[in-house]
Symmetry: C2
């Protein structure tokens, strides 16, 4: 076995959903786009439907197919990119609900699937997805008569609770939707941690389910174990890895470990990251290469057979900080080479 192992704790996932669900008085859905943030949309969706989730969300119609297979008929599967050209068969055949983003998509949907459920995504200021307020004002009455099953928008700055953009988007969303006869949703994980007026009829967490900030109380969902290929002595002054960028300052033992940036351990990860032998931290040294990392195991009493890089102490957010990114990107980068196991 020379590939690393990614273990996904579905109990922790379920527990995170329950903890987030308890934070509001409204329904809680789940965002499972990008293969459930890299963790496997099938097992993740199956677990969440058991917990009671009835509204799932994906980015693209193509992603909805696996969710429908996992959750069976019944739960809504919303598609954030709406009804794009070429999506009609997928939407119909797998009972997916497009979040219609524009008058063009509305026309397309009405022409192609006039009796098929749809939601509405409005832009409340992020200028990324959703109807422009002017278009919405013109067509709201016509759309409302067709009974959208969801009316939603998305917050640009919810991870900063005090950012004035949050209140501004809330105000805009209310102006666009007050009085409408449809369930409304504005909050993902960040928004769920804002006051109740952000919660509307249902919330739709993503990152918090998977153990990431801004849900600081999330249980870690991912463990990553790396097999050690070999351990070697390195003398003072010898260099390790590409570009000679780490040089031993004491007689050292260096473990070469089978995982690298092709496994989502970003090359940008510099100092400050440890790899663990049981509870004992060992510093990553040298440059991360495509399939290999090197670790200083000098202080271990014996050479390790495997080392853990993600655990309950060092999380995706710690790796993200060391790489100059966010936990979301660490998760979605984990890649296909791991052997994967699920704790059920």
């Amino acid at each position: 076995m020379s590939t690393a192992r990614l273990t996904i704790n579905l109990h922790a996932l379920a527990s995170n959903w329950q903890a987030l669900n308890a934070k509001t008085d409204v329904e809680t859905g789940a965002v499972v786009k990008s293969d459930a943030y890299g963790l496997g949309v099938g097992p993740v969706s199956s677990t969440l439907v058991e917990e009671g989730v009835r509204k799932f969300f994906v980015a693209a119609a193509e992603e909805g197919v696996a969710v429908r297979q996992a959750v069976g008929p019944g739960p809504m599967i919303g598609v954030f990119s709406g009804h794009m050209e070429g999506d009609t068969d997928l939407l119909r055949d797998h009972d997916l609900t497009p979040m219609i983003n524009s008058p063009e998509q509305f026309v397309r949907h009405q022409q192609a699937l006039p009796d098929h459920a749809f939601g509405i995504q409005l832009d409340s200021g992020m200028n990324r997805l959703g109807w422009e307020p002017a278009d919405w004002a013109e067509l709201r009455q016509k759309v409302e008569a067709l009974k959208p099953v969801v009316v939603m928008s998305h917050l640009a700055c919810s991870e900063e609770p005090d950012h004035p953009m949050n209140r501004q988007q809330l105000k805009t969303f209310r102006e666009l939707t007050d009085g409408i006869d449809a369930p409304r949703s504005l909050a993902a994980t960040g928004g769920m941690l804002l006051p109740p007026e952000f919660h509307f009829d249902f919330c739709r967490p993503g990152i918090g389910l998977y153990g990431g900030l801004p849900f600081a109380d999330a249980k870690p969902v991912v463990t990553v174990d790396l097999p050690v290929i070999q351990v070697r002595p390195v003398e003072v002054g010898e260099s390790v890895g590409y570009g000679n960028c780490w040089i031993a300052r004491r007689p050292s033992r260096i473990a070469t470990v089978a995982a690298g940036y092709a496994d989502g351990l970003h090359r940008a990860i510099g100092g400050g990251i440890d790899v663990f032998a049981g509870g004992k931290p060992c510093p990553l040294v040298g440059r991360i290469s495509m399939d290999l990392i090197t670790v200083d195991v000098t202080d271990l009493p014996e050479d390790p057979e495997r080392l853990r890089i993600l655990n309950g102490h060092q999380t995706v957010d710690d790796l993200a900080e060391a790489a100059g990114t966010i936990g979301y990107e660490i998760l979605t980068s984990l890649g296909a080479r791991y052997s994967r196991g699920y704790v059920e």
Copy 2:
């Protein structure tokens, strides 16, 4: 169709192999680890075996299985991580050749598969994979009697032709292997661009095949086309995307495009990257999110239906520079969500 399209030009791949092959007087193999640098190990290996490649290399035994399926019996498939615990069945069943990295691996291989071909990987100073010189001195005679099919090492600084480490590793590799009765290999893409004494009996390019630096003459192999979800007007002073980090300074039209960091468009990519409508560049604006990017298409005569981010003008190395990494990492990050097409 709401997912992006990745097109891999197998003619360009073949042409890059031929161009690299012409640079030396020795045999040229191919490194196809990490799913052929993210481009699909099956089609890539099939193409290269047609061109004449007889020595393939992967990182882990697990990766060798798909190569064997693609190339059929005959060509050598070397495994850089050697013979690890648990690898025996894979090595035997798929006729993979472990590059033995240590005395421990040597003992394991001799006990488990005494008649099965193996290579030797020596450490010539990178301190990452391969035998320590002292262990090699002790066991060389015994190993040599068993006729390794390859004796190899790897350069740490070959992308900097004038780096003194190159000559130092060459000297060490010679000291470790002169007089040996086995084909020797030291050079990957970078080493192939160094003088002939680095080439030994065969070279084993990786990144150059796939269109990346340091092989500056490589033809681009990858094209990425992104579907536009919608285009909206944005007034002066309005912000776009997460964190409000881009603000319009002129009345603008902003396209929201279906691809993001989950598709390997690293979140670290800041300014300086364009997305192309035909030959016309349009700047990426705002923060890259998981599934979406936003593009300023104000200067286009009409709203585009799709935009191209990787083409003959903007390469994986350009994206890498904008993200603060190397082309290798852009390639291996491209991910599973693309619809993939091969130009054969």
